[in-house]
Each structure stands twice: as structure tokens, then as C-alpha cells.
């Protein structure tokens, strides 16, 4: 059974359980939103998505109003536009005007809407001077509630996606604010640092602390890949700038995890460019001077080119194989490496060395 509705004069068949917003988006009609996110239950907090429904006394929140038979909706009528502009003005009046240096510049839904609706920043308001900047010691998450528009997506992400209930709402009215636990630090409020709140924050109120200053959305190339840590297989976007990974963001199309990631997946990437990384093949000095292997300390490492390193390795492995038999060579492949690499290690052990002595850390 479908419901016949009209949006902006366009006749549409909607599902009876759908909201105006869902029906509109399904048919390519854009209604702006801020507090709404498809992964989270609608709250109707921000009032950006107000639309004109024929016969209704007041504007209706498209995100939270179900369609009914014969409903006639104007999404961009004068009343809606005026209302949206005013709501945006109310937000901007109390939001710092520092897009020039803001971490979220280019990845800010408030900025995009202010642009789309040509809103001027009003002269009144606090301009976001309420709260200390970087107000939480969490090592991953940078908190600046001056930029918060109280959409509460962070609260919902923490409750509905992560089911951790760290973030909540405190005070009331104009003094309303987001708090962790009983106004403690995030970690004290049992935060797992998954960063779901950051992923769902539409503004620069919650951003990645460890990516701070390294590059902003328009400068970044996103490369979708699969996480290197556990077996869940979350997909994520590596954010790359100037040949370096500078952060990780959620990829909403990830098959297993959607927007969700854990602390390691989202914030455990900086090992990639760690100075400890091996950058050249290394061999022990004794191998270059054709001496026997010393007992005890193996001596200095020497940087060599690939040919040298691989020649020595091939020689040594071949020697063991030829002298003591193929089973004298043990091959440990890696559960961290690619399928293709594991296939090759298996082929290497069996075809090249001739042994089945291949295993990996599955047992450990």
C-alpha cells in the first residue's frame, strides 16, 4: 500500500511509514537538515527541515512528520525559507566566525547551509564565547563546544551507535550544553574513544585531535580501504594529503560497519609514518664479510640494497633446504598481510622450498 502525496507540485507515491524527508529524498528532492542523520532516530531538534504542509497551522519538521494520504507539501515555499534563514541566523549568532582556521572548514554542514541560504551573521549573539576551547583531555578528540549547534547527534551516536552513553545534555534553555557524564572528562565518563561522535558532528565542535592542523577536507584525498586491526573487517577512508595519511574518516557505505569504527581503526593510524619504520633492507655485518654467524651478539646492522639482501636471503634459505632438506626451513606467513601475499607465501613454501612447514599466528 502506498500513500499519494504531492511535494512541490510533483505527485509522489510514498510508503505509509515514511517521513516527508524520506519520501522527498527518495525522489531526489532536497530538504536541508542538521540534526537529522539517517543512521539516528529523528529528533526534530534543529528545525532546519521545516516545510509547509497544506492545512497545517504551523510549519512541520520534515524529518519527523509522517506522510498521509493526500498530503501537499512545499519544501521551499517562502515561509520555509524565511524560517530556515532565521534558524540559521540563530545558530550563527552564537557560533564563532572562524571558518578561516576552523578544522571543519569544507566539511561543515552549518557552513554549507549558511552558504546555500545566503545567511549573514547577525551582530547579536555570543559568537561562541561560552566555553573553553579544547575542553577535554581525550587524546583523540578535540572538543570545542563554542561551535556546537546543539543538534545532539553526538549524544545519539554515542547512545544509538556505540551504546556507551558518554555524551548527554545539561542545563536548559539558552544555557543548554553538551556534557560527558556528570560533566566530567570523556574518559571518566567511560568513553571508548571510538570517535562516533566526531563522525556524526555536523560542525567543528568535535574533531580529530590527532589530525588537527594536518589538512582539511578540500585538501584531502580519501582512499577507501579495509582496517588492519581486528577480524571484523571495517572499511574506512584513509585521508591522504601530500603523500601522507593524515587521518581516518568513516565511509558511510562500509558493508560491515557503516559509519562505526573503533578507537584503533579511527585513531590508530599514525604508526604508518612512524620514524621507526624500516626503510632499507638490513643485513648483519657478518653476512657481507662472508664470516660464520657469531655466537651471542649478532653484530651491527648494515643497510644494503635490495639485490644484496635478497641474494643473501635466497642463498641462505637455499643452503638450508639443500643441506638439511626442505623441512629444515620454517615459513611464518602473516595474518596481517593480504590474501594475495598469503597465497604467495604458501606457494613459496610449497613450490619454491618444497615444505609444508608454513603457519601463522592464528593459534596465538
Amino acid at each position: 500500500m502506498t500513500v499519494n502525496i504531492t511535494i512541490n507540485g510533483q505527485k509522489i507515491q510514498a510508503q505509509p511509514e515514511q517521513t516527508i524527508l524520506e519520501a522527498a529524498r527518495e525522489h531526489g528532492i532536497n530538504i536541508p537538515t542538521l540534526c537529522y542523520h539517517k543512521d539516528l532516530s529523528p529528533t526534530g531538534n534543529c528545525r532546519i527541515c521545516m516545510v509547509d504542509v497544506k492545512g497545517a497551522r504551523f510549519l512541520q519538521a520534515a524529518c519527523a512528520t509522517q506522510v498521509w494520504e493526500g498530503m501537499e507539501i512545499e519544501t521551499h515555499g517562502e515561509k520555509s525559507i524565511v524560517s530556515r534563514k532565521m534558524t540559521l541566523e540563530m545558530m550563527l549568532a552564537n557560533h564563532p566566525v572562524d571558518c578561516l582556521t576552523c578544522e571543519a572548514n569544507g566539511d561543515c554542514e552549518l557552513q554549507d547551509l549558511a552558504y546555500e541560504y545566503r545567511v549573514e551573521v547577525p551582530e547579536w549573539g555570543t559568537k561562541g564565547t561560552h566555553y573553553p576551547v579544547d575542553s577535554d583531555p581525550n587524546p583523540f578528540i578535540f572538543v570545542d563546544f563554542n561551535k556546537c549547534i546543539l543538534c545532539r547527534r553526538c549524544v545519539q551516536a554515542c547512545a544509538e551507535i556505540q551504546v556507551r552513553d558518554v555524551w548527554g545534555v545539561a542545563q536548559r534553555g539558552f544555557d543548554e550544553t553538551i556534557v560527558a557524564g556528570a560533566d566530567t572528562t570523556m574518559l571518566e565518563a567511560r568513553c571508548e574513544s571510538c570517535g562516533q561522535c566526531v563522525a556524526y558532528c555536523p560542525t567543528g565542535a568535535l574533531t580529530s585531535k590527532i589530525s588537527r592542523g594536518l589538512g582539511r577536507a578540500p585538501q584531502v584525498t580519501k582512499v577507501t580501504t579495509t582496517c588492519t586491526y581486528c577480524g571484523v573487517g571495517c572499511q574506512l577512508d584513509l585521508n591522504v594529503k601530500d603523500g601522507k595519511v593524515i587521518g581516518v574518516t568513516s565511509n558511510p557505505d562500509a558493508p560491515v560497519n557503516g559509519m562505526a569504527l573503533c578507537v584503533k581503526g579511527r585513531y590508530g593510524w599514525d604508526f604508518i609514518h612512524h620514524p621507526d619504520r624500516l626503510t632499507k633492507p638490513l643485513v648483519r655485518q657478518y653476512l657481507l664479510s662472508d664470516q660464520p654467524k657469531p655466537k651471542g651478539k649478532l653484530g651491527e646492522w648494515v643497510e644494503v640494497d635490495w639485490d644484496t639482501a635478497l641474494d643473501i636471503t635466497a642463498r641462505k634459505l637455499s643452503h638450508a633446504r639443500d643441506t638439511f632438506g626442505p623441512d629444515s626451513v620454517g615459513i611464518l606467513t602473516s595474518a596481517k598481510c593480504l590474501n594475495e601475499e598469503n597465497y604467495l607465501m604458501n606457494k613459496f613454501a610449497r613450490q619454491v622450498v618444497g615444505t609444508n612447514n608454513i603457519d601463522h599466528c592464528a593459534r596465538l
Binding site: 587524546p139 583523540f140 551507535i161 556505540q162 551504546v163 571508548e192 571510538c194 582512499v223 580501504t225 579495509t226 582496517c227 588492519t228 581486528c230 577480524g231 573487517g233 572499511q235 591522504v240 603523500g243 595519511v245 560491515v256 562505526a260 573503533c262 578507537v263 590508530g268 593510524w269 599514525d270 604508526f271 621507526d276 624500516l278 649478532l298 635490495w306 635478497l310 635466497a314 641462505k316 634459505l317 637455499s318 638450508a320 623441512d327 620454517g330 615459513i331 611464518l332 606467513t333 602473516s334 595474518a335 596481517k336 593480504l338 594475495e340 598469503n342 597465497y343 604458501n346 613459496f348 610449497r350 613450490q351 619454491v352 618444497g354 609444508n356 608454513i358 599466528c361 592464528a362 596465538l364
Partner: protein, 554 residues
């Protein structure tokens, strides 16, 4: 995964995380600290409990975080899983909650199994496991009356000398309840590493070729000999837990290790050290110098996941693309290129059968490798990078290029035909607490770190949140020994028959009295200095979860 293979003919997670979290009426999580080890799946379970009202039974000696969400927590003594499961199945049978039709139509060996289980009375089970009889009944009732129920486990089940029997018994439970081959049910071992499933799938095991084709089966052997153009061994090889100790036996002379740190991850570190000192030649292919690199002769700089393109297979058999985002640092190379170059060198001068289609090592990319893999691996027959890049979602078996993959295994029929009930009796741990070593130590990981910590100890934020090894100890035990979290006596020394470590105590009711919990993320206090190389006789997995130790203030 030898246990599951014995019961059903296939040893992987039978269901998908999505159908489990979305459709199970109940979850039984045993020996899996899901919210810390598989965090995103952990949150899926939490969501199911909170928003869908699914029942959750957690069986774990520790009060892990997931217990906060559990309908019921069964806090069994370490090493008594078989008894616990037999007890639960006893009560299920007593109440007629078993799925008679499923058992009759799809299983065999039921009567003998039933005989064994009926010997495990709730009273006796309660005494062995220290789980109250009342809770056993409650758990059995939830299991018996909420179907489908999904069973999840991880290393808490397998890292015992009874690892395989433990798994067999979980398979018994799910057959008994008829929870196999349906959405929201199944036997679901959660695989630890990102690509441990793929490493197993693609021949990284001593007994099988890619796709679990046994090296001992002549037909498989011939197939690979023909493909690779070389004579192959039909003798089952040695496992990691044998290869390294075999150095001292004079059997292993050279080691080629890709991305692993046995000094951190293998049991009984002192012994491993001795072995490594004795090996003739050790080549290590790594991202970082590791504890093991002290003993290496050659170190080859490999590439991280961000520096190469290919695929990983996750715990639910889902094959997914990994994409190169940046170049490897310096002269480091993607591992597949290193392996290829090494292979070519070693093959130099050897003649391989000219008819063999896959004898050579000429690959222009990992996509080429996958084509060869698919050709030789029926489970991956239909997998190509191209399909994955198109956005197709593939879980093996993917039988052909037009096959959509298999989200749930054992639908209608088990891989081996009928499922087998195995009667399982209690196997006590290899080492039990005694006067000298009165505590049981269990080991594992914490949410902020990964395995030997090579990567996570180099992630600034993770190190800031969890900066050193912590030994979890119960408040009662701590008080008795004068250990407090904030006082002066906050460090503890934990010793076993094999070694001793010192670390900060974390006084917490996460562990019951008489138990301590340690991790192996930090080299200066790695739990594996204490663990023993007691192995499950079939799976050769060490008993990490039960070590007798002595604890004292340091």
C-alpha cells in the same frame, strides 16, 4: 578451526555479523571479550540488546565490559568450559528444549552424546565451574526458549589444551538447539587478526593448500603439482608452535618470518629466546624492528596496509579490497613484491614443468595473484578484484564468477552432509593452581592495543590512553596483599614456573578472586614470559588462558 571442521566439514564462522546482530533472539558469548577485541561487532551486539531486547548470556571468568549488557553472566572457573556446556545441555535435554526434528534429520551420533551429557548433573557442574545451579537453569532456559540463538567465541575457547573439544561442544550445543543454517544462529568463532581468515583460507597452514585442500590427499597434491610445475610434499608440516621449538631439536635451520613477532606473541618467551639464538638463519620481513629482530640476520622492509592494494578476508568470510593510499617509506616494498623477487631468485636455475600454468612468478599486480588464487581455490573461484571494485559484496564460498557468495553456511545441509555430535568429557587444564602458584593467570588484549603492540605502541593517542602493561587483580586479593591502585605498593610481580614480570596493578572486579589477567602488548612486562607451551593436541594452540602463577607486591 579443526573442531568445526570435524562437526560440520567447514571450520569458519557460519553466519554473518549482520544477521546475527539483526535476527538472533539470544546471544551466547563465551570466551570472547567482544567489545574490546571486536569492538564494532561488540557495539552491534549492544545495540541488539538495548534496542531489540535480544537476550545476552556471557560466559567468562572475567567481568568483561559486555557483562554490563548481559541478561546473565556465567562466571565459570578458567578451564571448565566443557563441564559448563555439558551442564547447560543436560538441563536443555531435561526440559525437552532440544530441537528433535533437526537432530533427527540433520545430525548423527546423538545417543552416545546424550549419554555423556546426562552424566553432568547441574549439581556436579556447579561444583566444578563454581556457577550457581540457579544460573545454569536460567541460562539453559534462555537458550531453550529463545531461538535462533547465535553462539560467539574467540580465543577464550580455543587457547586451551582442550581447545578443539571446547569447540566441538559448542557445535553440539547449536545442533542440539537446531540453531544451524539459519539467520541469527550458527557457530561463530570471531577471528582475531584482520586477515587471519584469509591466511588460513589461502594455504598459510601446514596441512592444507589454499581452500583447505589437504596436502595428504593425492588428488589435491596432483592438482597443485600440475599447476605449479614442481613436486610437492604430501606430509603435513609443522605448526608455529612446533617449528620454533624444533630449532633446538636440530630440525629447523632457517626461518622466514613475515610480519610476526614470536618473542611477544608465542608462549614461554624464555624458551623462544633460546630457540631464536640457536637458529642458523632468520629473515624477518617487517614494518618495524621488533623484539624478534634482535635474533634476525636479515630484515626486509615491508609495507603497511596503507601502502598496498589487495584483499583481506574478515571473520565472516567477507573478501574486501585494501587500497594503496601512500607509498611505502624509503625503499620499503609491498610484501608481495618481496616474496616474488625472493622466489624468482631461489628458482633461478631450477627447471619447472613447462606445462604448468602457474609455475612462474610474473605478477604485475595483486589482481594477477588473485586470478591464480581463484583458479586453484574453489572457495574463491569467483573472486576477482574487478568484482570487488564494482561494489559486489562477496563472502566465500564464491563458487564462480556469477556466484553471489554465501552469507550463511550450512543452510539445508552441512558441508559434510550430516552434523556429528561428539561426546566430550572434561579435560582439566595442564597446569592448575597449587600452593606455590596459587593464582590462575589468563592473558589477552585490551581495546587500545593490538597483539605484540608493534603498531599501537607507535600510535601516540593509544599509548597515551593505555601506556603500560597492567595486571588486573581482584580487590579482595589486592587488599590481602596490601596492593592498592594509588598507594605506594601498586606494582606487582607475577611469576610462573617459567618466568617473572613486574607491572602496575589494576585493582578491579573485572577479575574474580584467585585470578589475574595480563596482556602481551608491552615487551617489558609481557605475559608470555609466564605462559607455557602446553598445546591442544589437534589444533596445536597453546593454553594461554590458564597459567598457574604467584603474585606479590613488587
Amino acid at each position: 578451526m579443526a573442531g568445526l571442521a570435524a562437526s560440520f566439514g567447514s571450520g569458519a564462522m557460519s553466519n554473518s555479523m549482520d544477521d546475527i546482530a539483526g535476527q538472533a533472539q539470544a546471544f551466547f558469548v563465551i570466551g570472547s571479550n567482544t567489545t574490546e577485541q571486536h569492538p564494532v561487532f561488540g557495539t552491534m551486539l549492544r545495540r541488539a540488546v538495548r534496542f531489540r531486547g535480544a537476550k545476552l548470556i556471557v560466559a567468562d571468568p572475567r567481568r568483561i565490559d559486555l557483562v554490563d549488557f548481559a541478561t546473565l553472566h556465567l562466571q565459570q572457573k578458567p578451564g571448565t568450559d566443557i563441564v559448563l556446556l555439558n551442564g547447560l545441555m543436560h538441563i536443555i535435554l531435561q526440559n525437552g528444549w532440544e530441537d528433535e526434528r533437526f537432530i533427527a534429520e540433520r545430525c548423527e551420533g546423538f545417543e552416545e552424546f546424550k549419554e555423556t551429557v546426562m552424566r553432568y548433573t547441574p549439581q556436579m557442574v556447579s561444583e566444578t565451574t563454581s556457577v550457581p545451579v540457579e544460573k545454569l537453569h536460567q541460562a539453559a532456559e534462555i537458550m531453550g526458549t529463545h531461538k535462533p540463538m547465535a553462539v560467539m567465541w574467540a580465543m577464550g575457547i580455543t587457547q586451551h589444551i582442550s581447545g578443539v573439544p571446547n569447540v566441538l561442544n559448542l557445535a553440539n550445543l547449536q545442533m542440539l538447539l537446531g540453531n544451524m543454517g539459519i539467520p541469527g544462529g550458527g557457530v561463530n568463532p570471531l577471528r582475531g587478526q584482520n586477515n587471519v581468515q584469509g591466511a588460513c583460507d589461502l594455504g598459510g597452514l601446514p596441512n592444507v593448500y589454499p581452500g583447505y585442500q589437504k596436502v595428504t590427499v593425492a588428488e589435491h597434491n596432483r592438482k597443485f603439482e600440475a599447476a605449479w610445475g614442481a613436486p610437492l610434499s604430501d606430509k603435513i608440516g609443522a605448526t608455529v608452535t612446533e617449528i620454533i621449538p624444533d630449532i633446538l631439536e636440530g630440525k629447523t635451520h632457517a626461518l622466514y618470518i613475515l610480519g610476526e613477532d614470536p618473542l611477544m606473541s608465542d608462549p614461554d618467551t624464555a624458551h623462544i629466546r633460546k630457540c631464536m639464538e640457536a637458529v642458523d638463519f632468520l629473515v624477518l620481513q617487517e614494518l618495524f624492528p621488533s623484539e624478534t629482530s634482535h635474533y634476525a640476520d636479515v630484515m626486509l622492509p615491508g609495507a603497511s596496509f596503507a601502502e598496498k592494494t589487495g584483499t583481506f578476508t574478515n571473520t565472516e568470510r567477507r573478501i574486501q579490497m585494501v587500497h594503496k593510499a601512500v607509498d611505502p617509506p624509503g625503499e620499503a616494498l609491498p610484501d608481495w613484491k618481496i616474496i616474488t623477487r625472493l622466489a624468482k631468485r631461489m628458482l633461478h636455475g631450477r627447471t619447472l614443468s613447462p606445462d604448468a600454468p602457474y609455475a612462474g612468478w610474473e605478477y604485475s599486480s595483486t589482481a594477477d595473484v588473485m586470478i591464480e588464487t581463484a583458479a586453484l581455490t574453489p572457495l574463491y573461484a569467483g573472486v576477482t578484484h574487478e568484482r570487488l571494485e564494482r561494489g559486489e559484496r562477496l563472502q566465500w564460498p564464491v563458487k564462480a564468477l556469477d556466484h553471489p557468495g554465501t552469507p550463511i553456511l550450512h543452510v539445508g545441509q552441512f558441508s559434510r552432509g550430516k552434523g556429528i555430535f561428539h561426546p566430550i568429557d572434561h579435560i582439566p587444564p595442564a597446569e592448575e593452581p597449587d600452593e606455590d602458584y596459587p593464582f590462575v593467570m589468563s592473558t589477552g588484549r585490551v581495546i587500545y592495543h593490538w597483539h605484540g603492540g608493534q603498531m599501537t605502541r607507535r600510535a601516540q593517542g593509544l599509548l597515551e590512553v593505555y601506556s603500560e602493561a597492567l595486571i588486573e587483580i581482584n580487590p579482595d586479593d589486592a587488599a590481602r596483599m596490601g596492593i592498592t591502585t594509588n598507594g605506594s605498593a601498586q606494582r606487582v610481580r607475577v611469576s610462573s614456573r617459567r618466568g617473572s614480570i613486574e607491572a602496575q596493578a589494576w585493582v578491579t572486579d573485572r577479575v574474580p578472586p584467585g585470578m589475574v589477567y595480563a596482556n602481551f602488548h608491552f615487551p617489558d612486562a609481557s605475559a608470555n614470559e609466564l605462559t607455557q607451551a602446553a598445546l591442544d593436541p589437534v589444533a596445536k594452540i597453546p593454553e594461554y588462558k590458564v597459567t598457574a602463577v604467584h603474585v606479590e607486591p613488587a
